[in-house]
Subunit: 655 residues, 2 copies
């Protein structure tokens, strides 16, 4: 096949590609960044580029207006090269830095009674060796090993090739005084299994010199990383950043699809690795630590994120019967996966349970203590997959309901992530239907984020702007409610009030998407309770994890029927339980053993194969639910509200 | 420092180097091959180059004639760049291919009673997995592991990241029918230690399908490699080649010196790796095997060779108190060291005992069975280091006597390796003193190799050309014995008979070097026997290992006092015992355990710190020895020979 020359205006050099090459691939080769939030499926329209000259065949123009098509716009992920061409790339949406304001910094206390000597799998030993002589010609490694085994009182020890290479020099640098750092994760259950020498340092240490470890949570949206002193157990830096994979798909399914493309898997691997390594650098800079001193990292994240980090194909996660390649990843070395810390550092990926119940959930159960309590607890990670766990110290059941990314800003026209410019809370006046809102960063709004949507939806429902089925009451006496392109819609902000000059609206389609999302989550609760034969009301506590969960207004979420109708003091917001669990497992061998126990004890219920789920889902597609008896507080509030409204504006409800 | 342009006539491009760069380093950067058999110490003179123009400072002109110096010749390893220059490189001596005639191919029989199932640490299992379904969403790795553990009836199993990456595809390629290859080297002594998954192959296998392994011996001079079917135990190909490191030093000490130079260690590592990988290719081609099917390699060699293969600094081997970095190398993966076989293949380096008693000797003891016999045996590897073991099933002592490389062709003016053109056997007429010789390859001679020297020295002694002290009898009536530049010398071949047109001689200096070498070896025997308090005569057998050993004429070696004076049937030539030991350890777990046992049981006697050695050495500096009572047969023969000679040519002995 002949090669064609494609010149992107944003690139320094033209690229040569064969017939049939996707424009996104050509752009990648040319070093041009093109966002593909839908993973290159032609669904989001964000990779549109303008073909100035040349022979490019567009396979789909969905998401492009006839005017754009006339101007030569194509979706780069759906257009193939058939001849030489010149392409103009519009400015790409920038992935902003995650706000590391107080919204993201957790108050962390070291687990009570943490003792480095007792709890930590990594140990540090100061050694003074006898130097070799003509009477004692023992080789360096045996000499070190012998003293180590004597000092530790047990076990066999392994050394890696790179350490063997530096051994002689290290031992002699300070007259045979060295500090050995070892990891013995399996000594608790296999005393004969070798410990691994992680590092050898010249000279000895002070008792309170830090020893560095990392707790990492790879979220689909955000990667969080804590730099931890393993000796004191203290978190010395917390940093977070958008997962750079986000430009290649906003949700896990889009990422898996992208990974299936040529070199897609390697690209996603290097994007998330880049994110992590940048965070390592940032955290180390803050605490003035050399990244090479970090000897252990515990990694949490959903199954897809773990697969993509390790470069393991994730395609089976997406296809029935939805299995992962590996739930229990054996310990790896940092150099094997490309983590920019000590090359021999242990990288411990926490265990997952299923394709859609990953290490983030087992870590969440660990850190929330659901598995260790007599009370029956409902643990919920509000996000794309709505992973839910119901259980106690006796039993644990879990499921994932594909809620879709509605609450994360996708699938909603003016939805956005919880960043600067996002409306995060809305109040709607019950008589005028005028909204008041709070915007992240106190700027003009440009969209609405998940917590804002929950708030708005509840307000619209309570004020009667939408009914039980989510339909807009178009007869209300307000310009805020109007007929849009796709049915009724509510104008949250007028163009004059927004950053982009366009109205910010919530349409009927958006409401439908949000209803489906909340119905899926609530149906999950129902099925879990049913699978263990208890009514959902038996749950005594509700833990809400995920950094997004923190910003949910419980009252409003209950109004929607997203959360069960329980006394407010039953609800607890735990923030990023995934990174917290990684932190606990990083610190303590027994916590690490507990997360393994959680993973093996947890019974996974596959909802897509469960008829009860469809039934429960259908019943939950209403506000708050078909069965109002499940939401007594809401029923009572509605009656109050409607009664109240009726008295002020008696016409409204009769229209 | 400014850079200077150096142009080698043999290079395509000039190189830019700073002031003070050695010409050998500049040549390396320019991609020009310069032999440095002495390791760049300025001793051998083989890296001489001609400076055509430019500013080059020569630090030493030893080994160069005044004429050469006048013509601008310098030793590249001793000359530094101080300005731009143009250099002419004379044709370099080619490292010939090792003759793989019958001289090098051993007759190998599979160890009696070898049973793959019982003996081999690598095992191969055919598995048929149940495919996942909505009722069984077990992840791929757990699914495989569960079936494996069930089938093997034990143990934990480890999987590497590359295998995790290919797992999903492999399992699905033939409908969940796979063959797993595992290595469980530690199950014998640590049943809880994990076995390692080496490879996963699509589908099942036939009972007698081969499973490939390698036995490798890295000699200082020659690398030998056997391709072995681990199922039948049969050796399917034997290949050998000069260790390409030879251009950077002929003996281990020169190599260590070279390795200490900038990038020297990496250069030596890549040279020996190149040799091995070429041999792998050659062996695989011969048997029509894909190198990726080789799943295990057992490596033997002296301690320096093992260190250099692994890129571990070897400098402490050379300096008092002569310790290695590591005698017991943990198992490595082929990809870690760069071996071009299956990336996950286990590479097992056999254990050494000391700096100069390496895995080649423990492997040699294993294959010769010294450690397993009631008879006291003297095991000898004739070579640069003259490693010797004395022992039985009850005890083992060992030493290395730095015999120097005389028997390998170095330190002797016309010495050469045992390749085409080398005189390998000599007879000297007792009356005319005319020699008859046999040349390897049946060509004109160009030098004399180790076995030739032993033969010649014995003949010269027996015929009275040299006396007990190695002094030439210059009064003999023959042109063969003459006064040379450095004292008396014997002309083995006249210039008219040689390939290069120069006389081939053995000089007084050569004789001295050979005497020192043989005295060191014999003194080693004496000290070993003394250290266990027995007379050397108590040894019942003498095993001679090393491929060179095979060509020694025992009678003549005894005449010299190189070997003890024992009945001929006590001597046995075993060939390359190092590769044979590697082969046995490759096949069998119990043989592997035995070699470990040998290494730990063997008591190493450091001769350089032993006064007995100096005494024994001095006594052995005569032909055959100061104490003629130790060599009764020789004494008798000499009397016979001299008496006989006297009767024929009575004048000779009186002159």
């Amino acid at each position: 096949m002949p090669d064609h020359t494609i010149l992107f205006d944003a690139a320094e050099q033209p690229v040569l590609v064969p017939t049939g090459t996707l424009l996104t691939e050509a752009a990648r080769l040319a070093g041009v960044e093109l966002n593909q939030p839908c993973g290159g499926q032609g669904r989001c329209g964000r990779c549109a580029v303008q073909v100035k000259t040349g022979n490019v065949r567009a396979r789909s123009t969905l998401r492009l207006s006839p005017e754009d098509v006339a101007k030569g716009y194509v979706l780069a992920c759906q257009a193939v090269v058939e001849g030489n061409g010149a392409i103009t790339v519009p400015p790409q949406e920038k992935i902003e830095r995650v706000l590391t304001t107080d919204r993201n910094v957790a108050e962390i206390t070291v687990p009570a009674g943490y003792s480095y000597e007792r709890d930590q799998s990594v140990c540090r030993v100061a050694l003074s060796l006898r130097s070799p002589s003509m009477d004692d010609q023992t080789d360096d490694w045996s000499r070190l090993k012998w003293v180590l085994e004597k000092q530790l009182g047990r076990g066999d020890i392994d050394i890696s090739l790179p350490l063997m290479r530096s051994l002689g020099e290290m031992l002699r640098a300070d007259d045979w005084r060295v500090t050995a750092i070892l990891d013995a994760p399996s000594w608790d259950f296999c005393p004969d299994c070798p410990a691994r020498l992680l590092d050898l340092r010249t000279g000895h240490f002070e008792e309170d010199d830090p020893l560095w470890g990392l707790a990492i949570d790879i979220g689909t949206t955000t990667v969080s990383l804590w730099l931890v002193d393993l000796i004191s157990g203290e978190v010395k830096a917390q940093v977070a950043e958008y997962n750079q994979q986000i430009t290649r798909g906003e949700d896990v399914v889009s990422r898996i699809i992208f990974a299936n493309k040529e070199s897609g898997r390697e690209e996603l691997r290097s994007l998330v690795l880049g994110t992590i390594n940048e965070l390592v650098e940032r955290a180390c800079k803050r605490v003035q630590v050399d990244a090479n001193e970090i000897v252990k990292a515990t990694v949490s994240g959903n199954s897809t994120m773990i697969h993509l980090l390790l470069g393991i194909p994730a395609s089976s996660i997406r296809l029935s019967p939805f299995v992962t390649a590996v739930n229990n990843v054996p310990n790896l070395r940092a150099s094997e996966i490309g983590l920019a810390i000590h090359s021999e550092a242990t990288v411990d990926c926490l265990p997952g349970v299923a394709s859609y119940v990953g290490a983030d959930i087992t870590a969440g159960v660990l850190s929330s203590g659901v598995d260790d309590s007599d009370e029956i607890t409902l643990f919920l990670d509000v996000g794309t997959n709505g992973e839910t766990v119901l259980g106690s110290s006796d039993w644990l059941v879990t499921c994932a309901c594909s809620a879709g990314p509605a609450f994360e800003g996708a699938g909603v026209v003016d939805g956005m992530r919880a960043t600067r410019g996002a409306i995060e809370e809305v109040w709607v006046h019950s008589e005028t239907f005028e909204p008041t809102w709070r915007v992240i960063g106190n700027t003009k709004p440009k969209g609405i984020c998940g917590s804002g949507m929950i708030s708005l939806l509840a307000e619209l429902f309570v004020t009667g702007v939408i009914d039980k089925g989510g339909h807009f009451n178009l007869s209300l006496d307000t310009a805020r409610v109007r007929q849009g392109d796709h049915g009724g819609e509510y104008v949250i902000a007028w163009g004059s009030e927004t950053t982009h000059g366009r109205d910010i609206v919530l349409s009927h389609v958006d409401v439908d998407n949000l209803l489906r999302a909340k119905a899926a989550i609530y149906a999950g609760f129902t099925v879990l309770a049913d699978s263990v034969g208890i009514p959902l009301e038996m749950a005594e506590r509700i833990y809400i994890g995920g950094s997004f969960g923190k910003y949910i207004n419980v009252e409003k979420a209950v109004y929607l029927g997203l959360l069960p109708d329980m006394p407010w003091d039953c609800f607890q917001f735990l923030g990023n339980t995934s990174v917290q669990g990684a932190y606990q497992a990083l610190l303590s061998r027994s916590a690490r053993a507990r997360v393994q126990d959680i993973a093996s004890r947890m019974t996974y219920i596959e909802l897509s194969a469960d008829n009860r789920f469809f039934e429960a889902f259908t019943s939950a597609l209403f506000l708050p639910h078909t069965d109002m008896a499940l939401f007594p507080t809401v029923e009572q509030a509605l009656v109050g509200s409607r009664v109240n409204k009726k008295s002020v504006n008696p016409g409204a409800s009769t229209l």
